[in-house]
Symmetry: C2
Subunit: 274 residues, 2 copies
C-alpha cells in the first residue's frame, strides 16, 4: 500500500505545496501534473497507476477523518507514494475553503505519442475526436459519454483544453484516467492518421448530410465534434462525411456534450457495441 | 416598442434596485420574478411576453453600447416596459463585475395551474417529468433538450429547483421561456394526472427493464427522470414501466441532462416526431 500517513500541521508545509490554492494554480500549466479530487477519481487513479496506462500518483492528501474510508484504495498504490493527512482547518488553509472533498491526490501523466495510441487500437474500434473543445465541463462530459458508450479512444486537437484540468476530470467521473487519449496536433493531421488506418470518419454538425440514425456501420468509426458556437472548421467539414442529429428547427443546436452523447449512442448502437 | 432609454448614473438608483448583486439575490425567493441575461434570452422573453405565455418583462437594463444591437428586440416589448442604460463602470457597480453580458431584464411569470397545463396538451403529446432535479445546470439542459426533441411540456415536482434561476435559464438558452411547464406538487400526484389523461409513463433508470431503443410508441408519452445519485424514488419506480439506456457496465450512469437528451431522442424518434 501507499506510505504510512504523515500529519501536516500547517498549510505552509513544503511537502504539500502543490496542493496550495488549487483553484488558481489549476489554470496554469503544470507539466503533466494534475489534481485528482474525491474518492471515485482516487480509485480510478489507483487503477490507472496499476494498469501502467501512463498515469502515476505522486502524493496523496487527505482530511484525517477520510482516512479509514479510503484505506482499501490506498492499499492499491505503491508504498513509495506518500500519504499526508490534515485536520479540516489545515486542509482549508492549504487548498481553500470548500475546494475539496477531503480526498486529493497529485497525479502525473506521461503522454504516449499519437502514433502509439493509434497503432494500438483494435480491429473494430470507435474513436471520438474533439476540435476546439475549450470548455472544461464539455471536455469532461465527452470522456464520460465516450466511456459509457464503449469508445476505444479520444483524440483532442491542440486547440482543446486539457482534460486533466481539475473540473474536467471531476465532470468525467474519472474517465479521463481510464479512456486512452491523446491531446495535441492539428485536427486535419489527426484525422488523416485515422483515415490511413481505415477509419470511416463522420463529422457531427447541425447541417450534416446524413441523419445520425441512418449512418452505416463500419469496423472502424470516428466521430468528430467541434465547439458549439462556431462548429467544426470548413476544412474539416468539406473533407469528410457529415451527420446530423434530427431536432426542432430554429433552435440553437444541442449542447456539445449532449450532442456527443446522442451521436455516440447512435453509432455504438449501429456498431452493435451496446 | 419599449420605453425611451433612461440613463442610470449611479449604482444605487432605486429604479434598477432589483438588479443589484444578482449573484446573491438569485438564490433567494423572488415571487416569480427572474433575471434574464443576454441577447438570446432577451429575444425569447420578448416572444414569450408577446405570446401571452404567462411571462412579462418589468424592466430592461442595458450597457449603453449594446443599445443599438438590441433595438429590434426592444421594438417587440410594449412601450410601458422601461429601458435603462448605464455605462460599464455603473453597470459593474450594480450587478457585479463580469456578472452580465451587457443585456439584462427583470421578468415575471404567472404560473398557470397544473390542470390548465395538462388539459391544454394536444392529443399526441410528449411530456418530460423531473423529480428532485436540484442542479441548475441540469434543469436548464433538460429544457434545452426537451425543446430540441419537440416535447410539449415539462412537469417538475416540488423538490426540483426553479428553472427561472439565472444560470438554469442561461443554460436552457431561453427554452424555459418557450417550453410550457409547471413546477410544484408531489411526483406521484403529477404522474397520476398524466396517467388519467392517457399518458404511457416511462421512468428512466440505469436498471430499467426495457431498452430505450425498444419501447413502443404511444400517442401520449411521458418520460420521468430523477437525480443522478439517488435516482427516482422507489414509489415511482415500482408503479410505472422503466426504460434504460444501454451502456458500458461498471460505470456511473450518464449525467442526467445527457441521459434525458438521449432518452428524448429515442422516444421522439419512436413517436416519429423527429
Amino acid at each position: 500500500m501507499a506510505g504510512q500517513p504523515l500529519t501536516i500541521e500547517t498549510p505552509d508545509d513544503l511537502r504539500i505545496a502543490e496542493f496550495r490554492d488549487i483553484r488558481e494554480r489549476d489554470l496554469t500549466g503544470r507539466q503533466n501534473r494534475f489534481i485528482a479530487e474525491g474518492t471515485v477519481v482516487l480509485r480510478m487513479l489507483a487503477d490507472a497507476h496499476a494498469a501502467g496506462r501512463g498515469f502515476s500518483a505522486e502524493k496523496i492528501l487527505l482530511l484525517r477523518n477520510r482516512l479509514d474510508g479510503v484505506a482499501e484504495i490506498l492499499d492499491r498504490f505503491p508504498k513509495d507514494v506518500p500519504v499526508y493527512v490534515a485536520d479540516a482547518d489545515v486542509l482549508d488553509g492549504i487548498v481553500g475553503f470548500n475546494m475539496h472533498r477531503g480526498v486529493l491526490a497529485l497525479g502525473r501523466r506521461e503522454q504516449a505519442t499519437e502514433t502509439i495510441l493509434l497503432d494500438a487500437l483494435p480491429e473494430q474500434a470507435l474513436v471520438l475526436v474533439g476540435c476546439g473543445i475549450s470548455n472544461h465541463d464539455n471536455a469532461g462530459s465527452m470522456f464520460r459519454n465516450a466511456a459509457a458508450f464503449r469508445a476505444d479512444a479520444i483524440l483532442l486537437d491542440e486547440t482543446c483544453c486539457d482534460p486533466l484540468y481539475r473540473k474536467a476530470l471531476r465532470v468525467s467521473v474519472g474517465s479521463v484516467l481510464s479512456m486512452p487519449y491523446h491531446r495535441g496536433g492539428d485536427a486535419l493531421a489527426l484525422l488523416s492518421g485515422l483515415a490511413e488506418r481505415g477509419f470511416a470518419i463522420w463529422t457531427l454538425s447541425p447541417r450534416g448530410e446524413t441523419d445520425i440514425r441512418q449512418i452505416s456501420a463500419s469496423d472502424r468509426m470516428a466521430l468528430v465534434v467541434g465547439t458549439e458556437g462556431e462548429g467544426l472548421p470548413e476544412a474539416v467539414l468539406s473533407r469528410f462525411r457529415s451527420a446530423r442529429i434530427p431536432q426542432s428547427e430554429g433552435l440553437d443546436s444541442l449542447n456539445v456534450a449532449t450532442a456527443t452523447g446522442i451521436a455516440l449512442f447512435a453509432i455504438s448502437s449501429a456498431m452493435a457495441r451496446i
